[in-house]
Every structure is written in C-alpha cells, then in structure tokens.
C-alpha cells in the first residue's frame, strides 16, 4: 500500500481532488493528442516533475510504484518488436520501431498522469470526487466498505502469517502453500462474520440501507481548480499546437 501512505504524506494532500484529477485528465488527453516523440516525453516529464517537485513525492516511492507497469511496458514492446519471418526465424521489426516508441511514450505519459493523481490524493478524496460525478451509490458503498476493510483484513492477514511462522508454517513451499490455504480459508469465513458485525454496528447507528457520510470540505477548491485548469491548458495547448 505504498501509494496510500504516499498520498497521506503528500504535500498536496488537501488540495481539492477535482483539481488534481483535472490536471491528470489534461495530461492523459494531451498524451492522446500529441504525435511527436519529443512532445510525449515532455508531457511525461512534466507530470513526473510536478509530482516529484511540486507535491514532493519521494523519488524512491515513485520509482517503486512505476516499476510493475513499466515492466509490462518493456515486455509488451519487445514482444511487438520481435517479428516472425515466413521461414520461421525471428528478427527485429525495425520498421515498426517509431510506432512502438510512440506507444511506449504515450503509456508512460498517461501513467505519469495517473501516478501524479494517486500519489497525492488519499483514496477517500477520490471517492468523494466520484460521488460528485454521480457514480451509482451502490458502487460508492462497495468502495467505501472495501477501502476500510482492506486495511483491517490486511492486518489480520499479516498477524495470521506471523502466528503461522511462529509455528514453522513457512519452512518450505509445500508448508507455505498449506499455511496460505488454511489462512485464506479461515479469512474467507471471516468475510461473513465481519460483514455481519458491520451490519449490526450500522444498524445500531440508525442505518437506513445507504452508507452516507459527511463530504470532506476543501477550502481552496476554487483556487486549486483554477490553477489546475491553467496548467492543464498549457499541456493541451502544447499537444494541439503540434498539429497546427
């Protein structure tokens, strides 16, 4: 949950989530519009720079978060570059290199936009934004419950693994699988118990079937959004300007 910790520690934690989402959206749109490799690289670099320098997200965290998707990108691009010939041999399809490079740079730019958003915005703020965007209440309910429960279950899981380790449950991979299976089974049963307990607790607080909470207030929402719109407009203008 590196992203979650980074979001709460971020300097921009209390900036209106709508503003940060607008800037991320502008980055993604600009990356879709832009054609040139240099322009795509610029957009990616701008998003990374804003996240690292503006919101002061630690570069280590950033890199660790970006590694798995970049791994996917590397494998996929190498895969697209390798081409079979009619005689069954493989060669590098150097002709498609520019197109693949564009795909890679575009992915990196959109990824950087998303990371800029999620590394600076606690998930509850994003859920509040989704509520403003009229996402169905049922989905919002599931998300709110899911978010809270993930941390409770994760703690329970970690404690379970620790307790099993104390009884030598992870000595080799056979034992590890057996222990993992036992623990996952026990926790799957807990899903019902915990849901029942939460249901009772909600009922005790006059639950009427919907999970409604006080929306978090962001005092500088207007100012934040104006700045995000301006910054986003610059990115879009650069991308559009390339076509003119």
């Amino acid at each position: 949950m590196r992203i979650d910790s980074a979001a709460y520690a971020s300097r921009w934690r209390d900036v209106a989530p709508a503003a940060k989402a607008q800037f991320a959206l502008a980055g993604a749109l600009a990356a879709w519009i832009a054609q040139g490799h240099a322009m795509l690289a610029c957009i990616a670099a701008a998003q990374v720079a804003v996240t690292l320098l503006g919101a002061r997200v630690s570069p280590r965290t950033y890199l660790a978060t970006a590694m798995p998707p970049l791994g996917f990108l590397l494998v996929s691009c190498l895969n697209m570059l390798a081409a079979p010939a009619a005689d069954g041999t493989w060669h590098w399809a150097s002709a498609s290199l520019p197109a693949i490079a564009r795909t890679a740079l575009r992915s990196a730019a959109v990824l950087a936009s998303l990371l800029g958003l999620v590394l600076t915005t606690p998930l509850p703020h994003l859920l509040a934004l989704l509520r403003d965007l009229h996402v169905p209440e049922l989905l919002l309910d599931l998300m709110a419950l899911c978010y809270r429960t993930v941390f409770v279950l994760r703690q329970a899981w970690d404690e379970g693994v620790t307790a099993q380790s104390a009884r030598l449950g992870y000595g080799d991979w056979r034992r590890a699988w057996r222990s993992t299976g036992l623990l996952a089974g026990q926790m799957a049963v807990q899903v019902w118990e915990r849901a029942g307990a939460l249901q009772a607790a909600a009922a005790a607080r006059a639950d009427d079937g919907r999970l409604r909470f006080l929306p978090t207030a962001f005092p500088h929402a207007r100012r934040d959004q104006a700045m995000a719109l301006a910054a986003g407009a610059v990115l879009l203008a650069l991308a559009i300007g390339e076509h003119l």
Partner: protein, 288 residues
C-alpha cells in the same frame, strides 16, 4: 428527566437462531442519569442485553420498554430508539466502516436526517468530547487501538443519545487509557447521559458504578446500588464473582478498628488513602 425508568427489560427471553438461550427471563431497569455497570462472566449474556436495549435483537418473549412504553419495532420506532440509546461495541475494527474519522462519525447524524451544517457541528463536538478533534481527517487505519475506540464512542455521541451503552469498554486498554476513558464517561454523566457499561471486573464495577446489575448464565440475578449488591455475598457467588477487594479490605480493617466502619471506600486506592490519612500515633505498635 422523569421518575419513569428510561429503559427496562421485563422478563426478556432470547433464543438465538441456533436454538441456544441468550437470555432467560431477564428483568432490568435503568434509572436515568446514573452510572450502571452490567457485571457478569464471559458468556453470561451481557452483550445480548445491550443489543436488546438498542433494538438490535428482539425478545423471543417478554418486553423491552422505553420511557414506560413497549418499544415499537417498526422502522420509525427503531430509529427513535437508536437515536436515544447509543451502543458502542467492543471491537473497533468490527464497527468502523468509513475511510476517514470524520466520515465515520458523521454516519449516525446523517442517518438521523440532520442537515449538513448540523451534522458538521455534531461531528466536531463529538470528536472534541473524546479528544480526537485533531484527527478528523485522518484515515482510520492510521489510528491506534485506543484512538479507534474513541472514534467509536464519538460516532455514537454525535447522535446525542440519552443513554450510552458500552460493551466491555475497558478491554484492551492499559491503566492510563482506562483512566482517560473513565474521565470521558464522567463528563458525559455530568451532562445527564445515562451510562450502562458491561464488564467482568467487579472491582472496577464497584469503584465506578452507582448501580450494579449482575448477570449469570443469561439470567439477571440482581440489581441495585453498588454497595448493596457488593455486600450480598450469596448473589455475588451465584454470579461467579468474589466480593470487591476494597470492601473486603475495609471490612477487615474496620474490624481491627483501623478504619471507620461507616466509611465505604470504593477502591483499594481509596482504602490506601484512608490508611495514609491516619496519624500513626493512633495505633499501638504491634509487639513482635
């Protein structure tokens, strides 16, 4: 506040879905504005009583009365009961479901249909009451166990109940945290809130409560002012409890003429204070 008991169980029986008996003819009266302790061993039925008082469970037989009238288990009746009678469960991780502290605390007041400004004011006041106002926008998973416990209480206080039910509130808290929680409860009692807390610790119940309600094996076997209950050795024995240490000590010291028989200290600490207040010259040194 009236002389009518605020809440009452009248010969309540409860059978669980699996056929086991939760309560067997339990009668219990909560006088308003007092500190009530529900005392019993693990499994005696304390939680089941609390859940009846808040309308989460319905009696299989018998009645729950609020202000002298039987509880209405319709939607509106239950909502009214739960607004007036707040219940805090034992385990915070099984009752908090929102992401942020202030969101969770706002759940009850929003369900009451209050407008946003009132909800915000109530959340603020409730968090101040439990000393968590600095954590309003923190996520719950960053809090310690004791802090989560306080958020649970705030979530109920924000509904401004007249009666607060606390299920084993001291479990898992160390001595300073317990003292802090007792102070918080005292402030609520001073405001006129009726408090009922369940516990299996007779020394704590005797030190804190005005009234003690004793439970054993699903039965409510005794109710009354703490000193009266604590002096009934047979009833205590039936509930698997011994006499409070403070009472036993005081009786013994009074028998030896060291402390006055008519003072009844509520805790061993109070006995100790009584002893320390004595001038040593009053007593003849015991010959070795």
């Amino acid at each position: 506040m009236t002389a009518v008991p605020q809440l009452e169980l009248r010969a309540v029986e409860h059978l669980f879905a699996d056929g086991s008996a939760g309560l067997r003819g339990c009668s219990l009266v909560l006088a308003p504005g007092r500190r009530h302790a529900l005392l019993g061993a693990n499994g005696a039925g304390k939680t089941t009583v609390l859940q009846h008082l808040n309308g989460l469970l319905r009696p299989t037989a018998g009645q729950v009365l609020r202000g002298g009238r039987p509880v209405d288990y319709g939607r509106a009746g239950l909502a009214a009961l739960r607004r007036e009678v707040g219940l805090v469960f034992q385990n915070p991780d099984r009752q908090l479901f929102a992401a942020l502290v202030e969101e969770d605390v706002s759940f009850g007041p929003i369900n009451l249909g209050l407008d946003a400004a009132t909800v915000r004011a109530r959340v603020k006041a409730a968090l101040e009451a439990v000393g968590m106002e600095g954590h309003a926008r923190h996520p719950l998973h960053h809090l310690s166990f004791g802090q989560k416990k306080r958020v649970c209480i705030a979530g109920v206080l924000a509904m401004e109940p007249d009666v607060l039910l606390l299920d084993e509130p001291m479990a898992g808290l160390d001595a300073p945290m317990q003292a802090e929680l007792v102070r918080l409860i005292e402030r609520l009692v001073a405001r006129g809130v009726t408090v009922l807390l369940s516990t299996h610790d007779i020394d704590f119940a005797y030190a804190w409560a005005d009234d003690i309600h004793l439970m054993a094996a699903g039965r409510c076997i005794g109710s009354g002012p703490a000193p009266a209950i604590a002096s009934q050795a047979d009833v205590l024995h039936a509930a698997g409890q011994r006499q409070p240490l403070a009472l036993a000590l005081h009786a013994s010291l009074a028998a030896h003429g060291l402390l006055q028989a008519d003072a009844t200290p509520r805790s061993v600490e109070a006995v100790l204070d009584g002893l320390r207040a004595l001038p040593t010259s009053h007593i003849r040194r015991m010959s070795r």
